[in-house]
């Protein structure tokens, strides 16, 4: 019987699942994911996590708890940095420790990904992580390559207009229709977690809007736009948010933008100001921040989204 390893369907799952699944599968492990977020998962996460932490991390706790009895190992990598000169969110660095601190957990696998130190260092860390599962370096290399290939296919699919949920479930997006296009910016784990976002993407499509999200833009575009800031941002994921929003503010390809952010997110609260300043420029598309937390009722979100779509339709007429 193969060893099972659990990957919580939360946080960086939406960014790197194909890489992780390909890699761990290549090492001979059986990957198990938690189900999509539901009320039980959210409630369990909110109860287990520290009260001050942001909603997506609370959701992560809930997913870990739902996997806990079902797997031999938990895969919670320490993603320090995914590129040179930039870091991920500080909470991601401490994630494995935070989960261990809950107590009574399966063993947590926490390989370090720190691309800031160069890809040679990453390879070394990958090997040292994988050696408990195989003694053959070639097998590790093949497994990693497999993961990287899967990831490349995933990103290509995102750039062709599929959402992460659509790619990972293999369900093609509905045919795009509607007169208006709305850019949804924010962390993928907020936007694409349908429970957390209260189905924002589907809701907008149902109201007759075409929807594009930050993860559908090519990395180089996002990078170039983010570099328009006088000072380089040192958080990779926030750079993606700023870059995509800046791109849409100038490209004329969207009629409006919704920035979905979670209440207790430090980086989000800073980025919000940057985006709002940029949105004041003449001719920029309308920007609506949409804050979510565990107390958010659907009614408030629906009212705002309806009013936003009305506003865009009104302008188009």
């Amino acid at each position: 019987m193969s060893i099972t390893v659990g990957i919580p369907q939360a946080l960086l799952y939406y960014k790197y699942y194909p890489l992780w699944e390909g890699f761990l599968g290549g090492l001979g492990l059986e990957v198990v994911t938690s189900p999509a977020t539901n009320r039980r998962i959210l409630t369990a996460g909110v109860e287990a996590a520290d009260n001050e932490i942001c909603l997506p991390v609370k959701v992560f706790y809930g997913h870990v708890l739902s996997l806990k009895e079902k797997v031999d190992l938990l895969f919670i990598p320490r993603v320090v940095s995914v590129e040179e000169d930039a870091y991920t969110c500080p909470k991601f660095l401490g994630l494995p420790d935070m989960i261990r601190a809950v107590g009574d957990m399966p063993e947590v696998l926490d390989p370090i990904f720190n691309f800031r130190l160069g890809s040679r260092r990453v390879s070394r860390d990958v090997y040292s992580f994988a050696k408990r599962f195989t003694k053959h370096p070639a097998k590790v290399w093949r497994a990693w390559r497999h993961g990287v290939d899967e990831q490349r296919r995933y990103v290509a699919k995102l750039e062709s207009g599929w959402t992460p949920v659509e790619v990972l479930s293999g369900k093609a997006p509905p045919e795009a229709k509607g007169d208006m296009t709305i850019g949804v910016v924010g962390h993928p784990y907020n936007i694409h977690d349908e429970y957390v976002s209260m189905n924002l993407v589907k809701r907008l499509r149902k109201m007759g809007a075409r929807v594009v999200t930050s993860d559908m833009l090519p990395h180089r575009v996002v990078e170039a736009e983010a570099n328009r800031l006088p000072k380089k941002l040192f958080w990779t994921y926030e750079k993606e948010i700023v870059g995509s929003a800046f791109y849409w503010m100038r490209s004329g390809t969207v009629d409006g933008m919704i920035y979905m952010l979670s209440f207790a997110c430090g980086p989000d609260s800073l980025i919000q100001v940057l985006l709002e300043q940029e949105a004041k420029r003449e001719g920029a598309p309308a920007l609506m921040p949409l804050v979510i937390d565990e107390h958010s009722g659907e009614a408030g979100l629906v009212t705002r989204v309806e009013a936003f779509v009305d506003m865009l339709a009104w302008r188009l007429n």
Partner: protein, 331 residues
């Protein structure tokens, strides 16, 4: 029944958390009748009472209902009850009404029972808006509560504020702290009118610093919603913004006026779905249950008349929403 067209009267119904408002607009979009009621947590009963009162006011008007629109937090529920031609969110409804009354309006300040909004317009088109989030500090409910605590009828709250010669400094960021601040000031012996005016200023400060943060407030400014009745709030806004603040004649039913205007626009030459004023005597029953279909355990609300399900909603997935299923089947 006469075939409905735009020559009839147009009804707008705004069912909010605290008040339920109904208006009837005539052929020239003039307000023929208006009703302002407390919702008292019973939106269906409030709509039914409102319809009775509205019908009574319209006794001498020989016109049929041409269209009806609903808005407010209970817009979907009231839409089912009356047979709405259009169901619109209250932000759009308020913007439409404000630019109807003051066509050149640039800023709408709206403070209702439990929410507040700021809407910015340019040439009659909404360009930006914000609505308060989880916190209800500074809304009508809080003023209501404070008026009751001071033993002053809410209707007189504003005129008391105007008597003030020097306002007290009250913390307006949070209702709970504002209340303890007010009690403290009372115990120290400050005059009630100075405390009340201080409270108005605190609420305006809170509104401008939180809700309207970073938004450029340009005149003409229209102030509407139930709280616009409070002359102390109007004066505080004028002091803070250093510009005239216009309170329209029908400030308390602007959402309903917006809904009626939108209904009139949407109906064209079509026929209204209005169920008639008789909807006030129908026995609507609502019930709710927890769906066991998945781990979400959504609370589904059901509205029935004599065993027939009119509508169901509240689920994360669409499986209980009969209303939509029926509409799709009808197409």
């Amino acid at each position: 029944m006469r075939k409905a067209n735009t020559t009839g009267i147009h009804l707008g119904i705004d069912v909010g958390s605290v008040s339920t408002n109904l208006v009837a607009l005539g052929e020239d979009e003039e307000v023929l009748a208006s009703v302002y009621l407390r919702t008292q947590g019973q939106p269906i009963a409030a709509v039914q009472r409102g319809l009775i009162e509205l019908e009574a006011q319209l006794e001498d008007v020989p016109l049929e209902v041409g269209s009806v629109g609903t808005t407010g937090s209970a817009r979907y529920l009231s839409g089912v009850i009356v047979g709405a031609d259009i169901v619109k969110n209250e932000i759009t409804a308020h913007a439409v009404a404000a630019s109807f009354v003051v066509p050149e309006v640039r800023t709408v300040l709206e403070i209702g029972g439990q929410d507040s909004k700021v809407i910015l317009l340019k040439q009659g088109v909404v360009v930006d808006f914000a609505m308060n989030t989880v916190c209800a500090a500074g809304t009508g409910s809080f003023l209501d509560h404070q008026a009751a605590r001071l033993g002053i009828p809410i209707e007189d709250f504003g005129s008391h504020a105007l008597k003030s010669s020097s306002a007290c400094q009250i913390a307006g960021r949070c209702s709970v702290f504002a209340e303890s601040d007010m009690i403290h000031k009372q115990q120290m012996g400050y005059r009630v009118e100075d405390i009340i005016y201080g409270l108005c200023q605190a609420l305006v400060r809170n509104y401008l610093n939180n809700l309207a943060k970073g938004k450029e407030i340009v005149a003409p400014v229209v102030f509407q919603g139930g709280v616009a009745a409070n002359a102390g709030m109007k004066r505080s806004f004028e002091d803070a913004l250093k510009t005239e603040v216009i309170v329209p004649k029908h400030y308390h039913v602007m959402g309903a006026i917006g809904a009626a205007l939108l209904a009139k626009d949407s109906i064209g030459n079509g026929e209204t779905k209005f169920k008639g004023f008789g909807a006030s005597s129908i026995d609507y029953r609502t019930s709710s249950f927890n769906c066991k279909g998945c781990a979400n355990n959504c609370e589904i609300v059901k509205i029935e008349v004599e065993g027939t399900v009119l509508a169901r909603w509240g689920g994360r997935c669409g499986k209980w929403e009969v209303q939509e299923v029926e509409e799709e089947a009808a197409v």
